[in-house]
């Protein structure tokens, strides 16, 4: 019993260290966590609409390839060119 009491601060220190390490690890891993939501088999129509709106408003989308390419050359950035059957904001 006396021995247990003497070890108590060590146990507490150990728990504290583990706790702090866990928090730090969680924070440092936050940006690396998987983005692909494998546990969600289906997005609802409402969520799809919200996501489409977010995608359209979040990025400055060019509609003309030559103009976009000229802008890419001017800024020295690659062009991300999306081709779809349908419209970005109007469904397929």
């Amino acid at each position: 019993m006396t021995s247990d009491l003497k070890n108590l601060p060590i146990w507490l220190s150990t728990i504290a260290v583990v706790f702090v390490v866990s928090i730090v690890a969680s924070i440092s891993m936050a940006d690396d966590r998987p983005l692909t939501p494998r546990s969600i088999p289906k997005f609802s129509g409402t969520e799809v609409s919200q996501r489409v709106e977010r995608m359209i408003s979040g990025v400055n989308w060019h509609g003309d390839f030559d103009q976009a390419m000229a802008k890419a050359a001017e800024e020295g950035k690659p062009l991300f060119w999306l081709q779809v059957v349908g419209k970005l904001d109007g469904g397929l």
Binding site: T36, K42, F65, L79, W81, L82, Q83
Partner: protein, 222 residues
């Protein structure tokens, strides 16, 4: 749904000029699909599914094509490819000769494919109806060289196809061949098919009898 992920939006804004176009009825390689309103639900699928319906092209400021991801690409796989593409952009902008750049471009694509994780490879399996089509295609690059079975995945085949097109200018890039695999028809309901080549898909077996006849959608076979 990949492009609506906040992290991916930030990635695109920070590193790319972005643009898009509708290829429906414009390009001969454009695929077919049922109509879908914006507010219809969305399912997860495999990387490369619907390669004729969606193409994600990455073009260097010089006009040379760095990569083409056909169809759906999940968020983690997409981020992994974008990191690789940004390295290719540095290669294209370097002072190396064009021959050296092309050599390195080829090696980079093949090495990158060889280092894809098991998860990426697993997530890039052909859809059932695309696999059926490839099994009927002589010389398909989806066939394994060991036993000839159509077991290879879209992530691997796409890097190989890009390696055969080293830093081609967009004006010379034969996208119709790059996205040429599987069927012309793709729909989010997956393996339900169909008279695909005639554009008359039927309802998936597990969905039969569950859809409202008045809602349009799947056509009856025959």
């Amino acid at each position: 749904m990949t492009l609506s992920e906040p992290k991916i939006i930030e990635l695109l804004k920070a590193n790319f000029v972005c643009g898009w176009r509708n290829i429906q009825g414009v390009e001969t390689y454009a695929g077919k699909s049922h109509d879908h309103a914006v507010a219809s639900s969305a399912l997860h699928t495999t990387n490369g599914a619907g390669g004729r319906n969606v193409q994600l092209l990455f073009v260097a400021p010089s006009g040379n094509v760095l990569h083409c991801l056909p169809g759906y690409w999940d968020p983690d796989g997409f981020v992994h490819e974008v990191e690789f593409i940004l390295e290719l952009a540095k290669l294209d902008a370097s002072d190396l000769s064009i021959l050296e750049k092309r050599d390195q471009f080829q090696l980079a694509h093949l090495n990158h494919a060889a280092h894809h994780t098991e998860q990426v490879v697993k997530d890039s399996s052909l859809q059932g109806f695309d696999k059926m089509k490839e099994e009927k295609t002589d010389g398909s690059d989806f066939r394994r060289k060991t036993d000839g079975s159509v077991m290879r995945t879209v992530d691997q085949v796409m890097h190989e196809r890009m390696a055969r097109r080293p830093l081609l200018n967009m004006s010379r890039f034969d996208i119709e061949n790059v996205v040429n695999y599987g069927t012309r028809f793709y729909d989010k309901y997956g393996d339900g098919c169909c008279d695909l080549e005639k554009g008359k898909p039927t309802m998936p077996k597990q969905k039969k009898g569950k859809m409202d006849k008045g809602s349009g959608g799947w056509k009856e076979k025959g």
